[in-house]
């Protein structure tokens, strides 16, 4: 009897610890939301929602000051789209190679390399971008090198490990008997991989792409070092010209901003946050759809 009681007691304690741990992460999210919205929303209200989101003029130090972030929203979308165009095909092909075609002795080298890519700090990516990618773009493609192109290239590389590792494991998770069924009909390895295995891994692949988008949208340090950060009027935005994104807007000006200017930067953070919420919502949508099948 006493034994049972003791077990119950220690179980209760453990449960409390688990609950507390879960509670702390929820609390952190809530605190961040609360901070962002409390500081950001009033500023959006003061500037005016339409003037904030759909105005391309950003001049917080002008008189009269203007606080339109449309150019940065578009900038974020462009560099992210560029990263997807570069990173997704390469990442997906790499994942297929690792999961289906890679000989063991090659895998031993490629897999740790991909993992290492994930661990490299973004400041290093930024340096690499400044010293290698920007000059490369300047000399071979035009402009001064600080551009959407350079940012897209760097982000495209940065999202590779996310796309590769999640896609690879979802391809590996496809039951072997699907592939067997395909071979049994006389299909080749390539046909089997691309027409049966890959479609069966679809939800995992989509998940990897969305997480990649999340990483690209939120990346700051590497982008600020290669994008040039000029606020461009919408009709002047070009692939080989500088660009400012939501994240780089915050980091370039936070050090000297005050008053409404500072609040407008936090509001920029709110917009970024909304992007991330939309991405997360689409993630859970994919998951619930995958479960229904």
């Amino acid at each position: 009897m006493q034994n049972i009681k003791r077990t119950n007691f220690s179980e209760n304690i453990m449960q409390a610890i688990f609950f507390l741990s879960a509670f702390i992460s929820v609390l952190a999210v809530l605190a961040i939301c609360l901070f962002l919205f409390m500081r950001g929303i009033p500023a959006i209200a003061e500037i005016g929602f339409m003037d904030f989101i759909f105005n391309e003029k950003w001049g917080p130090t002008n008189t009269p000051a203007s606080y339109g972030i449309l150019s940065m929203i578009v900038g974020s979308i462009y560099v992210t789209a560029g990263a997807i165009v570069i990173g997704v095909p390469i990442g997906l092909m790499c994942a297929i190679f690792l999961a289906e075609f890679c000989p063991d002795n090659v895998y031993k080298f490629v897999k740790p390399a991909v993992n290492l890519l994930a661990g490299i700090p973004s400041i290093i990516y930024g340096f690499f971008g400044m010293e290698v990618v920007v000059p490369f773009v300047r000399e071979n493609m035009g402009g001064n090198g600080y551009s959407i192109m350079s940012a897209s290239l760097i982000l495209g590389i940065m999202i590779l490990p996310t796309i590769i590792s999640i896609s690879e494991s979802s391809i590996r998770a496809v039951p072997d008997n699907y592939a067997e069924g395909s071979y049994g009909l006389g299909a080749t390895k390539e046909e089997t991989v691309f027409k049966v295995v890959l479609p069966a891994a679809k939800s995992g692949v989509l998940t990897s792409i969305i997480l990649g988008i999340g990483r690209a949208v939120g990346e700051t340090m590497a982008v600020v070092m290669v994008a040039g950060n000029a606020v461009m009027p919408l009709d002047k935005i070009e692939l080989f010209k500088p660009i400012r994104t939501l994240t780089t807007n915050i980091v370039t000006e936070m050090s000297y901003a005050s008053g409404l200017h500072e609040s407008a930067l936090i509001s920029t953070g709110v917009v970024l946050f909304v992007f991330i919420i939309i991405l997360n919502a689409s993630l859970s949508l994919i998951k619930s759809k995958a479960q229904r099948n």
């Binding site: 067997e180 395909s182 049994g184 027409k195």
Partner: protein, 250 residues
């Protein structure tokens, strides 16, 4: 009777382990040949050598000869060509996670048929042959994973028909199914045997007696006895066969 498949002195090794020992047999056209034997006796392994599914497993070595219509399938035939002519239905129903239609159309598409009308015709024909057209004709676009286990297995049989094979190998196709689904599949096999050569691995001796013309009894990687099904079950020549079919071991 015509010998569709001739198997001569086949040995199979998984690494060091010898899983098949000196297999010799002829499998005749338009008959159902059943392989019986206890788990691990090599009957499924042998079935898979007939369409080279063992090629997919690392460390498998096969010696001897298997001839399909006189052609050596390991030396003189591409595995994809062979598998198109020698189709397979697996133990666990394994429809692709696609629509019913796409499941059946997959094989012909893989072999280059793109014409929609032609594909429609093949899908209908194959599903009719598997006696499930009427059950599914109104939901061809629905996912195959929504079907019951028995329907999934018949869909896999329809899928095997879709590439117009000459031989169909079935690896314990009813072991995961209920008795009614099992009966439907057995009826189906008897019905189609005039157009195909059928080889079935089964755990279920009653199933072998119900549907097969010839039966081979496997034990420890060897064929102990291979004969007309009726004779093998009523007058086994070998003591081990008798012990097995009377339920003394297995």
């Amino acid at each position: 009777m015509i010998d569709k498949l001739k198997i001569e002195n086949v040995d199979l090794y998984y690494g060091e382990f010898q899983a098949l020992k000196n297999i010799n047999m002829n499998i005749q056209e338009n008959e159902i040949t059943a392989f019986i034997g206890p788990s691990g006796c090599g009957k499924s392994t042998f079935l898979k050598t007939l369409n080279r599914m063992n090629d997919l497993i690392e460390g498998v070595k096969i010696t001897g000869k298997i001839l399909l219509d006189g052609v050596d399938i390991y030396k003189d035939m591409d595995a994809t060509v062979l598998r198109r002519r020698v189709g397979m239905v697996f133990q666990k129903p394994n429809p692709f996670p696609m629509s019913i239609y796409e499941n059946v159309a997959y094989g012909p598409k893989t072999h280059g048929i793109k014409n929609k009308a032609k594909l429609d015709e093949i899908v209908e024909q194959s599903l009719r042959s598997a006696a499930m057209w009427d059950e599914v004709k109104d939901r061809l676009k629905k996912s195959a994973l929504g079907l019951s286990g028995g329907q999934q297995q018949r869909l896999c049989i329809a899928r095997a028909f879709s590439v117009n094979p000459e031989v169909i190998l079935l690896d314990e196709p009813t072991s995961a199914l209920d008795p009614i689904s099992t009966m439907k599949i057995e009826d189906l096999l008897i019905e189609i045997k005039n157009n195909y050569t059928i080889v079935i691995v089964t755990h279920n001796m009653q199933q072998a007696t119900r549907i097969s013309d010839k039966t081979a009894f496997f034990l420890h990687g060897e064929i102990i006895e291979f004969d007309e099904t009726e004779r093998l079950f009523s007058m086994p020549k070998n003591k081990k066969t008798e012990d097995y079919i009377t339920g003394r071991f297995g």
